[in-house]
Amino acid sequence: MSSLSALTIHELIDLLDRGVCSSEDVVTEVLSAIDARDERVGAYLDYDAEGALAAARSADDARSKGAERILPGIPIGIKDVLNVKGDTCRCGSRILEGYVSPYDATAVARLRQAGALFLGRLNMDEFAMGSTNENSAFQITHNPWNLEHVPGGSSGGSAAAVAAGEAVAALGTDTGGSIRQPASFCGCVGLKPTYGRVSRFGATAFASSLDQIGPITRCVRDAALLLGIMAGRDPLDSTTVEVPVPNYQEALADDLKGMKLGIPREYFVEGIDKEVEQSIRKAIRLCGDLGAEIVEISLPHTEYAVAVYYILATAEASANLARFDGVRYGARDEGHDPMDLYVKTRARYFGPEVKRRIILGTYVLSSGYYDAYYRRGQKVRTLIRRDFEQAFQECDAILAPVAPTTAYRLGEKIEDPLQMYLGDIFTIPASLAGMCGLSVPCGFSDAGLPIGLQIIGDAFREDRVLRVGYAYEQSTEWHKRIPPIRDDEGGR
């Protein structure tokens, strides 16, 4: 039998149900994969092996006494921005050094209730600001497919852990592409739910009108399962919406008959890598073969999305990160008065990208610039949202690349923030419009780096994007490939 750490949640549930293995076996094998590979990958900031094994034994014990849980002792990795009671939560930042969560995020609490256990904290760009994980204050995470390349970001640790067999599944957060892009770069499935679908309570806020929590998994069915558990109204997050949560797994089907899929012409422009474009075009043809009707659509304001995003997201971040002042939590530099304390603490413990974005956000909100930048950004956001509303009159879901390229080389973009930001051009529009988006593996470059297909759905139509992703996935083999770093586990 292949390593338990290489299996999907569904495969593990089946083995656990049949008594072929225990949760302790699963956790043990995941821990040994971490032991064997994480020194090279760098996905985990820290993990609690003893705690995870104890939780697994108690899950096994409960199962032997007849307890029925949806995720019976399934270990899930957690991005360092999400609160898990009793665990550290540093958001990849030195300013939260020593912070221990006093409560569970709602998404975490719902998975816990379903039987999941949490074995560690996954690396990320500081406060989720970045596309490569190079902005983590603590360590570099390497792409398991090629250690010279980035895993993407900001949920890079989550995607790298799943790809490297160091987590069965993981949670990430997506503000402008931070689940979909690392999933694409690491050859995983990543789902950004509709804004309002999953509670943000307990996710340390970056940009509150954009942030969403979502799963990074090895297959579409696992993403459907985790979303179904986490989704729905939460009294602790007033932006969650009272829309019924369908059974996402029942929405999965092997064909795409009766579905209309839109191809936005603005997503196939100069600057997109030829290999990426070829893979996406091939995936589109396959969706046609599976019974979907393919139609060309237009999202005319796409070119403005990055500019809008870097106004609105930084503005919201500058307000959200004001709470890190050296008084209530985390690190502190002493000062001769409170102002001196704030200024010194924030200067010393925030990293460069966070400082840049706080300054930009403060600037666009400042007197004299508010209307020129912030308000104008909000207005163009309306235009971008209308693009999608119009598009979903004409199709059921949109097919597009996740990113214009495969994973960057380490260090390739770090000196030029604007170039880094422009790499998020295909994920940011759906975020601004509040739509849902799924990344599914759809090929590899000649250099062996994964390519992701993005399926964008209308608000609260995760069932449709999952159906498209599943039908596509089931008729391809991309998701079954494993990176060279996992050669030690034998084939699946």
């Binding site: 932006t239 924030r346 200067a347 600037y363 020129a372 235009l383 949202r385």
Partner: protein, 102 residues
């Protein structure tokens, strides 16, 4: 307000001043570096000035909702000690900060 919206030359950010507004002290190295990078970014952001948005409503939130209410019933919150446990300095259940008044 309209004068601001039509202004074409808004991109010149005084990084040291804005950092002070944001309660951060930048180093001598950071000021010119950020100045340069942020002007570059603002130059890109200025592409938005091309659009006529006079009659467009702003979007602050993907799903503009009405007020959200809950039943006005008391519930357990985080215990005082649990909420303060992460503070760098406390005394007798209070946060400690440097003296404000002489």
């Amino acid at each position: 307000m309209m004068a601001q919206e039509s202004s074409k030359n808004t991109r010149h950010i005084d990084v040291a001043y804005v950092a002070q507004l944001a309660r951060m002290q930048l180093s001598d190295k950071e000021v010119p570096l950020f100045q340069d990078q942020l002007n570059h970014i603002l130059h890109h952001v200025d592409t938005l000035m091309r659009l006529d948005v006079d009659d467009v409503e702003p979007t602050s939130h993907p799903f503009p909702g009405e007020n959200v209410y809950r039943d006005d019933e008391p519930r357990e919150g985080l215990a005082h000690e649990a909420a303060m446990k992460n503070a760098p300095k406390t005394r007798a259940g209070f946060y400690v900060v440097p003296k404000i008044l002489e």
